[in-house]
């Protein structure tokens, strides 16, 4: 083992080599986890259910996300986790309304009626000063890592111990911290959900900020206007989804 030498003023050559090696290893690891795009852990026999998590980003984001979910077979995608930002009671209410509508529509028998609502701190509030944004983003990231990494790894809560199989994101800002937490899991070699980003129907010629940021990082990047895929840019278009 090489101990980093901190008492010396000039950097010790061994320390430099160790740091360089560590950085190189981290970069390689990051390269490997970000490159891993084809369905890997989905190979083999298909289990009867998949657990799903979706971020409800308030307002139009929530309504589009719930539209996407409304068409799914809830007996396949169970349990479901609705992740909402702190203070966004309206999104939580809309998620509950969707669950109740599905439950009463015979489509989803009792076995598929399992869901929870998780609250995470906002990465950036509307009109928040740029100065305090890094702090609140870090706080939000820590909460995401808690839910996606620490809790599943240590089975802290029995009803949420199973890690989610798929994570659906459609913006805005706070959803990027969820994606970064997923990459953190992959970096450590822990199981991680597949991440699907769906750009808003409102985005015709230009991506949203979270879309631009997440396009190279997610497993599937879905747009609703073909113009966004011009010049061979990454993503899929299968028509309007809402």
């Amino acid at each position: 083992m090489i101990e980093p030498e901190t008492r010396m003023n000039a950097p010790n050559p061994i320390t430099s080599i160790a740091v360089t090696l560590l950085l190189a290893l981290c970069s390689y690891r990051l390269y490997v986890v970000l490159k891993r795009r084809p369905c890997l852990y989905l190979e083999g026999s298909s289990p009867p259910t998949r657990s799903l998590a979706v971020f409800l980003g308030s307002g139009g984001h929530t309504s589009e996300a719930l539209h996407l979910l409304s068409s799914l077979d809830f007996t396949r995608y169970t349990p479901r986790r609705y992740i909402v930002s702190e203070g966004d009671h309206l999104s939580a209410q809309k998620a509950i309304a969707l669950e109740q509508a599905k439950y009463s529509s015979h489509e989803s028998p009792k076995s598929g009626h399992e869901y929870i609502i998780i609250t995470i701190p906002r990465a950036r509030r509307v009109h928040q000063s740029l100065f305090s944004t890094p702090l609140s983003t870090l706080w939000s990231l820590l909460a995401c890592i808690y839910y996606l990494t620490i809790e599943p790894a240590f089975s802290l809560r029995t009803q949420t111990k199973m890690l989610t199989d798929v994570l659906i994101l459609n913006g805005p800002g706070t959803c990027t911290t969820l994606c970064i937490a997923v990459i953190f899991n992959r970096f450590l070699g822990l199981p991680s959900p597949r991440v699907i980003y769906v750009e808003s129907f409102a985005r015709v010629h230009s991506l949203s900020a979270s879309g631009r940021l997440l396009r190279p990082l997610v497993d599937r990047f879905i747009v609703q206007w073909p113009q966004l895929l011009q010049y061979g840019k990454r993503g899929d278009y299968v028509g309007w989804l809402i």
Binding site: C39, R50, E64, H67, S70, S71, R76, V166, R194, V204
Partner: protein, 172 residues
Amino acid sequence: MRALATVGTTKFDTLITEVLSPRTLNALKARGYTTLSVQCGNSDFIYAPSVAKGETATLILEGVSVELWKFKSSLYEEYDKAELIISHAGAGTIIEILRLPKPLIVVPNPTLLHNHQQELAQALEAQGYLKSSTIEDLARSIQQFTTDTVVPFPAFDGSKFKQLLDEEMGFI
């Protein structure tokens, strides 16, 4: 005939002011609209104080009877009564109205960041689903808008996302 103008819960002072201007009201009257309902949201305009506490104000302007209010939890009843809807260009509102279906003129809010509302409005206009207008052009758009060229907006089709996710997650 009745027309409805709405800005949802947003603040869009210039659209509400334009909707209540003589030229717009006269354009509506010329097309046979005798009643105009307005949901003004958080907009600031001359009659805003008379609806600030949630009441509905009724007045006659340019011979058109106008009903004004700030916000209703559901607009479906109002959409249903109207033969023409003038709206801000929020994506959710647009889809809601086009699926009713009702003839729609949208006015993107030019003060919004990056103005992607305008992108959406123009893309949907190019496909014939609605008329996209501006504050300046609203009266002219009302005069020229004919509903017989409007293309029916497709219904919600959840099967595409369902298939995409089912494939991705190994169900298919």
